[in-house]
């Protein structure tokens, strides 16, 4: 289909704006920090800020994967359920005592989590590409499947990490810190850096953006479109696995409600970060910033005492819209 893409104002303006659009989420973040400092003096304390950054880890890491999926022109609604599923299986494996020492057990669990995450991602990828089903519906389906399987595994209850040895050995993976920086923050930065490297500097990353930008052009250029898309889902699965590996030491247990609605948060983080849902553009660092913004909004709401708890959801919704408006108006300048 030949269309007038060249004449779309966006195309014309975009190169000049790239910088402003990329900066917009960080400006929004800075504004929020100021707002937070007014709301409660404790907000700006190092402790609190580290806390908030630390707990944004789950969404931030998932959202790095979502950036790949979305910029390749896909969408993954199953990530929240996938967290529940992968974390449940990993805990069950840790409880199985397949290996002798807790160290060996943990090392094996890391491998297990990563394999399962990759497999779940692969399933999503194959259903959307080979099955040619819209990603929205395909991953809505697998969302039901992964959560259903989790419910079944837990027989309606919780799956809890039992061995205290493993627990104490594993605890620092979430609660520890290196040179004063909590481990989860290090993991966020490492994941994002790796993601940015892959997306911006490698051949595969270029292909992802090409496929998301115009599938036909990619195909006519000899890019294996389905493989590139599928791999993006696998990357999403790997990010989910990393999240699970941080989630287990923090909460130590899963149930059928683990990770509920996380998919929407991850997608929101990606979009607030400046990645367009139609594909072709991906901003890893913006995404991480978006995840921080989401978490900080919640934190400010909790620390400030003037919002009725019934209204928190409403205000969060309003802030998302305002953040997007700020972003758009900056990007349009």
């Amino acid at each position: 289909m030949t269309d007038l893409a060249a004449n779309k104002p966006s195309a014309r303006i975009s190169w000049r704006n790239i910088d402003l659009a990329a900066v917009a989420p960080f400006v929004a973040l800075a504004l929020l920090l100021v707002l937070g400092a007014f709301a409660n003096p404790n907000f700006i304390s190092i402790d609190n800020l580290l806390n908030v950054l630390t707990r944004s880890a789950f969404i931030a890491i998932i959202a790095v994967g979502a950036t790949f999926v979305i910029s390749s022109g896909g969408l993954d609604l199953s990530v929240g359920s996938m967290v529940a599923f992968v974390a449940s299986l990993t805990i069950m494996f840790l409880n199985s005592g397949a290996f002798a020492g807790p160290g060996a057990m943990l090392a094996a669990a890391v491998v297990v989590a990563i394999l399962i995450g990759a497999a779940c991602g692969l399933a999503n990828g194959l259903i959307t590409t080979l099955g040619r089903i819209e990603p929205f519906i395909a991953t809505l389906g697998t969302m039901g499947i992964y959560r259903g399987l989790t419910t079944w595994l837990s027989q309606g209850g919780a799956i809890t990490l039992r061995s205290p040895d493993i627990q104490s050995l594993y605890r620092p993976a979430y609660f520890g810190s290196v040179l004063g920086v909590p481990v989860p923050i290090i993991v966020i930065v490492a994941t994002a850096a790796l993601g940015a490297f892959v997306l911006y500097r490698t051949r595969y990353g270029r292909h992802v953006l090409a496929v998301g930008s115009n599938e036909d052009v990619a195909r006519y250029s000899g890019i294996p479109v389905s493989r590139v898309r599928t791999l993006a889902y696998v990357i999403q699965g790997l990010c989910v696995a990393v999240t699970c590996l941080l989630y287990i030491p923090r909460l130590g247990s899963t149930s059928a409600t683990t990770g509920l609605m996380w998919e929407l948060q991850a997608i929101t983080a990606v979009v607030i970060g400046g990645t367009a849902l139609r594909g072709g553009v991906g901003r890893i660092w913006g995404t991480v910033c978006g995840a921080f913004i989401l978490e900080i909004v919640g934190n400010i709401m909790l620390l400030s005492n003037f919002v009725s708890e019934y209204l928190i959801g409403a205000i969060q919704g309003a802030i998302i819209i305002v953040a997007m408006l700020v972003q758009r108006s900056l990007a349009r300048r």
Binding site: T2, A5, A6, R12, T202, R203, A218, G280
Partner: protein, 514 residues
């Protein structure tokens, strides 16, 4: 939006006053001024042709006249009155309509729905589809084509879409019709029909602005010819004073008397590609042909003959059945990746939709198909990419104002050159080019022909699919002609004449066809 209907076009105006007049128009995109101080006018019943190289600013000028863009400086007068055209709708209301160079249709709507989009016929709330289907069928038939008005536009070929787009515009009550390369994707037969239609509306007193790279056509229908070069108006003459060679000279600023390069036909060539009994279901049946080393093989045929689909089938873009032998060994390409690896590249006729990422920069586009050559370890070597871009810009004479501009901001001809450069980075041994010069100016055409000849002389084999018979005759060693999904015949040497090709392509004697 029935405003247009309430302004009936004025009858043939006998006065000599210009209907539409541009005074000192300039247009800048950001810091770049692409049109500089253009003044021109068009009178009722006159065909005013605008010619110029790719990127000269023709389309931009037309968009200013039709309200799609606003001038940075300068004025528009209609019937002597100064006006501002805020948007295309306003221009339409004043009777100025534009047939876009790009195809602007809603792919999910039917032909009739597109033709009447925004001015649906009906009573009150509802629309009358029966009436509109009839109207659309008639409007397309007036252009000499037969297209089912209830078919979804997304299923039409580019040529059919172009006809639908023209039909759509001509249904608007109009005083000035602007055609921006309407014939670029049409075959001679349809182009001829369109020219007749233009002659007809002109006698009814409509003013016509006409852009084309086919200088013969310009000579045939224009009363007046204006030449743009680099955004400036370099000449405006009576058509009678100019021959196509003069026009080319004015456009390019140098002599292009010899458009087609010399090429020698070798007697016996080693066959590199052999296609036997190859079918692409629904589009091409039982096609067989051979391609020799260093040969330029043309594919001629009417729109919809199935040439594009046959080629897409061969390179693995479509599902096809049959035998393909490469240097004697049977091969099968399940996807393009495989054919690229085997050294066969296909350049799509749809360069905007399938050739280039319009929203990405030149560098990304250039190296997209051959990224493997630009990686060191895991990393893409941006320095190497930039060097390749510099080289491509030099080799292919790509006129980019900035190296970091987006591919979509290049003019059509330069996009084609970029696409060529992109595919040549793969160093292919067999090159299939679909409509290589569609919408390309004569100077660039000359360059592209030279380039094709050079590739052939390097021992590469080339298939050129084209709807321009002159071009095929000019550059090919042999021409295969397709008709209705079948190969109707093959011509070579002295038999390569327009007559012969038309006979094969239409299945009727040339006198009847004309």
């Amino acid at each position: 939006m029935n405003a247009a209907a309430s302004h009936p076009p004025t009858g043939p105006s006998k006065s000599d006053a210009p209907v539409l007049q541009a005074v000192g128009l300039s247009k800048s995109f950001g810091p770049v001024e692409v049109l500089k101080d253009i003044s021109l006018e068009v009178r009722a019943g006159e065909v005013h042709a605008i010619i110029g190289e790719n990127g000269a600013g023709k389309s931009t000028l037309m968009k200013l006249l039709a309200g799609h863009l606003q001038p940075s400086r300068g004025e528009l007068h209609i019937d002597g009155e100064t006006v501002t055209l805020a948007d295309p709708v306003e221009a339409e209301r004043r009777g100025i309509v534009l047939v876009h160079q790009e195809i602007l249709l809603a792919p999910d709507l039917t032909v009739a729905q597109n033709v009447y989009l925004g001015r649906e016929v009906g009573n009150g709330l509802t629309v009358d589809d029966r009436l509109m289907n009839e109207g659309a069928r008639r409007a397309v038939r007036d252009l000499g084509a037969e297209i089912d008005p209830t078919v979804v536009v997304g299923r039409l070929s580019i040529a059919q879409r172009q006809l639908v787009q023209i039909a759509r515009v001509l249904l608007v009550p109009h005083r000035v019709v602007i055609f921006d390369e309407p014939t670029a994707s049409l075959t001679p037969v349809e182009a001829e029909a369109l020219l007749k239609v233009i002659a007809e509306i002109r006698t009814k007193g409509t003013a016509v602005l006409y852009i084309s790279h086919r200088l013969q056509e310009v000579k045939q229908i224009a009363d007046r010819v204006t030449v743009l070069r680099d955004g400036r108006l370099v000449a405006s003459r009576q058509a009678a004073e100019l021959q196509p060679v003069d026009m080319a000279m004015l456009m390019v600023g140098r002599d292009v008397a010899k458009l087609y390069p010399d090429h020698q036909t070798a007697a016996a060539r080693q066959t590199v590609l052999e296609v036997e009994d190859f079918s692409v279901p629904g589009f091409a049946q039982h096609a067989s042909f051979k391609l020799g080393r260093g040969e330029i093989l043309g594919f001629a045929g009417l729109v919809g003959a199935g040439r594009t689909e046959l080629m897409e089938g061969i390179v693995g873009l479509r599902h096809g059945r049959g035998t393909i032998r490469l240097n004697g060994t049977p091969v099968h390409f399940p996807n393009v990746d495989a054919s690229l690896k085997a050294g066969i590249v296909y350049l799509s006729e749809d360069r905007k939709g399938k050739g280039l990422l319009l929203a990405k920069d030149l560098r990304t586009n250039l190296t997209l198909a051959s990224l493997g050559r630009f990686v060191r370890g895991l990393l893409i070597d941006k320095g190497k990419e930039t060097a390749a871009l510099d080289k491509a810009i030099a080799d292919f004479d790509i006129r980019a104002r900035r190296k970091d501009m987006l591919a979509g901001q290049l003019s059509g001809g330069n996009q084609q050159k970029l696409l060529l450069a992109k595919m040549m980075l793969l160093d292919p041994s067999i090159i299939i080019i679909d409509e290589p010069t569609r919408g390309i100016d004569i100077g660039t055409k000359e360059q592209i022909y030279k380039f094709i000849a050079k590739l052939a002389s390097e021992g590469r084999s080339i298939i050129v699919v084209s709807s321009e018979m002159q071009e095929l005759i000019g550059i090919c060693d042999r021409i295969v002609v397709m008709r209705s999904a079948h190969i109707a015949g093959e011509v070579a040497g002295n038999e390569m004449t327009e007559d012969r090709i038309v006979v094969l392509a239409t299945g009727v004697k040339s006198e009847e066809a004309a």
